[in-house]
C-alpha cells in the first residue's frame, strides 16, 4: 500500500496544498521567523524527544487508553474505540502541545509565555506547564468566554497565571488570539506565544500537529495490539481550530483506506445565523496569519461564530484541515448543539463517561453513518466534561 501522507503534510514553503503560509505584519516577522528557523532542529534533537516523551508519560499520564466501548458499539453496530484524551492531565489533549511548546520556548531562551484560550482548556494546559517550568504566564481570554468558563479562569489563576480579558470584537476566541498577537508584537524579545491549535502562521500549524500526532501514533500501536492491524476504518474527531483532529489523523493521512471524519459545530443550525461550521459556511481567506477557510461576509469581514461549545466557537479552521477538506481527504459533518448534547448525555449513560461538549460533536456524527459490523471506528474523546457541567445543567435533558 502506498503512503500518500506527503500530499497532506506541510511543504517546505509552509503550505498545506494552497493553504497556510505566514500572513503576518512585519512586527511579528522576527518572532515567527526565529521559530520557523529553529523548530525542527529543536524538536528533532535527541534530548528534546526524550524529555518530551518522559513528561508525556510521567506528567500527562500517556499513553492514554484506547477503550473498547462495548455498549456504544452495540448501539451503532460497529466496533467503537474511544481514544481517551479526556484522561490526560488537565482534562484534554491540549497539554500534549503545551508540553512540546514550553520545551521549544526553553530551547529558544524565552522567559515569558503568552497564550490565547477559548474554553479555557488550552489556557489551563499552558498555565500548567508554565508552573511546571517556573515561567511567567499570561493568558488572553474573551470576556464572554471568561463568564461561561469561570472554573477554568480560576484554575489558571490558582496555577499562577494572569488571565487578561479580551474585550474587543465578539470577546471570544478570535479576539483573544488577536490580543495575544498584539502582546507578542509589543514584547518580541523574551516572550514565546503558545498557540493552542493548528492555526496561525507557519510553522505553528505544523508544529502543533506534530506535538498532537502522539495521539494517532498511540492509536496505531494500541489497535495493532487489540485488533492485529494498525489501521481503523474510521477516525472521528471534532474540529474547532483542529488540533485534536490533526493529532488523531496524523499517522493515518497517507493511508487512504482510513476514513477521516471531521465534525464542526453547527450551533443552532447552519441556516440559523448561529453556527461555527466553517467549511459549510466559509470560504478561502486569510485569518490569524494563514490562508485558510473562514466564515466571512461578502466584504471579507470575519463573522462572529456561535456554538454551545466554547472550544469550537472559532470562525476558521487550521490550514491543515482546509487542505483535508479541499482535497476531499476528510469528510466534514455539521453537528448542532442539540445533536452534540444528546450524544454527550448518551455516552454518559452508556459508558459512564461524561465527555467535553467539544468531543460530543465527534460522538454525535456516529448517528450519520451506516457501519458494517466489523468496522473499526475510533472516536477521539478529546476532553472530559467536568468543565461543562454548567452547560449540561442548563441543557437539562438528561
Amino acid at each position: 500500500m502506498t503512503d500518500t501522507s506527503s500530499k497532506y503534510l506541510v511543504d517546505e514553503r509552509g503550505y498545506f496544498g494552497k493553504f497556510g503560509g505566514a500572513y503576518i505584519p512585519e512586527m511579528l516577522y522576527p518572532n515567527v521567523e526565529e521559530l520557523r528557523e529553529n523548530y525542527l532542529k529543536i524538536i528533532n534533537e535527541h534530548g528534546f524527544k526524550e524529555r518530551f516523551d518522559q513528561l508525556l508519560k510521567d506528567y500527562v499520564g500517556r499513553p492514554t487508553p484506547l477503550y473498547h466501548a462495548a455498549r456504544l458499539s452495540e448501539k451503532y453496530g460497529a466496533k467503537i474505540y474511544l481514544k481517551r484524551e479526556d484522561l490526560c492531565h488537565t482534562g484534554a489533549h491540549k497539554v500534549n502541545n503545551t508540553i512540546g511548546q514550553i520545551l521549544v520556548a526553553e530551547a529558544l531562551g524565552k522567559k515569558k509565555i503568552i497564550a490565547e484560550t477559548g474554553a479555557g482548556q488550552h489556557g489551563v494546559a499552558t498555565a500548567t506547564v508554565c508552573a511546571l517550568m517556573g515561567l511567567e504566564c499570561i493568558v488572553y481570554m474573551g470576556e464572554v468566554d471568561m463568564a461561561r468558563q469561570k472554573p477554568n479562569v480560576e484554575r489558571m489563576k490558582i496555577l499562577g497565571a494572569e488571565v487578561r480579558p479580551a474585550t474587543s470584537g465578539s470577546k471570544t476566541l478570535k479576539d483573544a488570539t488577536n490580543e495575544a498577537m498584539r502582546h507578542w508584537i509589543n514584547n518580541p524579545a523574551d516572550t514565546h506565544y503558545i498557540i493552542g491549535s493548528v492555526v496561525g502562521p507557519h510553522p505553528y500549524p505544523d508544529m502543533v500537529a506534530r506535538f498532537q500526532s502522539v495521539i494517532s501514533e498511540e492509536i496505531k500501536h494500541q489497535l495493532l495490539e487489540k485488533e492485529g492491524k494498525s489501521d481503523p476504518d474510521y477516525v472521528f474527531a471534532c474540529v474547532g481550530g483542529g488540533s485534536n483532529a490533526a493529532g488523531a489523523y496524523y499517522h493515518f493521512l497517507g493511508h487512504e483506506n482510513v476514513k477521516l471524519i471531521a465534525t464542526e459545530a453547527a450551533g443552532l443550525g447552519n441556516h440559523s445565523g448561529k453556527s461555527a461550521a466553517t467549511t459549510a459556511l466559509g470560504r478561502e481567506g486569510v485569518l490569524h496569519g494563514s490562508r485558510t477557510i473562514l466564515m466571512q461576509t461578502d466584504d471579507g469581514q470575519v463573522v462572529e461564530p456561535y456554538s454551545i461549545s466554547a472550544g469550537l466557537d472559532y470562525p476558521g479552521i487550521g490550514p491543515f484541515h482546509a487542505h483535508l477538506f479541499d482535497s476531499g481527504r476528510a469528510l466534514f459533518e455539521s453537528i448542532t448543539d442539540e445533536q452534540a448534547m444528546t450524544a454527550g448525555v448518551l455516552l454518559s449513560k452508556l459508558e459512564g463517561i461524561i465527555p467535553a461538549v467539544e468531543s460530543s460533536h465527534a460522538l454525535a456524527a456516529l448517528e450519520n453513518f451506516q457501519f458494517k459490523s466489523d468496522d473499526i471506528v475510533v472516536v477521539n474523546l478529546s476532553g472530559r466534561g467536568d468543565k461543562d457541567l454548567e452547560t449540561y445543567i442548563k441543557w437539562g435533558k438528561y
Partner: protein, 259 residues
Amino acid sequence: MKNRIDQAFQDKKRDLLNVYFTAGYPALEDTMRVAVALEEGGADVLEIGLPFSDPVADGPTIQASSTQALENGMTLVKLFDQLKDLRSRVSIPVLMMGYINPVLQYGIERFCAKCEEVGVDGLILPDLPMYEYEELYQPLFEKHGLYNVFLVTPQTSDNRIKKIDELSNGFIYMVAASSITGAKSDISATQVEYFNRVNAMGLKNPRMIGFGISNYATFSKACEYADGAIVGSAFIKQLSQDASDQAIKLFVKSIKNPS
C-alpha cells in the same frame, strides 16, 4: 505620469506629514471630507485605512475606529464609490492601507484596477507576505501604477531591509518601535540607533517613520531621521473628539508648525 508619491518626495521643501485615517469614520460619508480637510490643513500624504474586523497590528484606538466604520456600513465597494471624484478634490498622494483579507475577497485585480481608476498612488498591506507580492502581485501593482510600501521594524535584519528596499517603491514605512499602533509616545536612544542604522544603509527609497508620532515634538524629532513621519492613532483620537473641518486643520497645524 509620474507617481505622486515620487513627486512629493522630489519637491519636498519641508518634512512630509503623512496622516492615516480610517475610511467611513467617524461617519460613513466622512471619508472624502476628511481627506480634503487634511490637504487644506497642510498634510502632504494621506493613508486611507480600510477597516477590518480583526486588525492584529493595530492598537485599541484604530481598532475602535475600524469597528465604528464597519458598523457605519463601510465596505470596499462603498469606499471606491466615495472616492470616485478623489482627483478633482485632492492633489496630494493617497495610499490605501489595510489587511489583505478584504482585498482578496474583493478580488486583487479588481482592487488594483479600481485604485488606479480613482487615483490612488500606493498600497500598504502589512500582512501581505513579501514572497507572495513578489511571486503573484508585483506585475499587477505595476500595471496599475500602484506603489507598494513595506514596513520595517527595529527587529528587521539588514538583509531583509535590503530585500524590502528592492521590492518597495515610493518610500519605506519605518515602524518606530516594536509595537502595535498608538502604543508609545516618545523617541528613545535605542530608536535613534535603529534610525541611524537604516539611514546608513544607502537605500534607494526614502523613509517615513510611523507608530508613536502624536505631536509636534515627536514629529519633528522623527523627521531628523527620515524624510517625514506618519500620524495615525493621534489623529483618530482627534476625530473621535471633534471631526469638524476646522478641528482637522488645527490638528495638522499643531503637528507641523504649532507656533
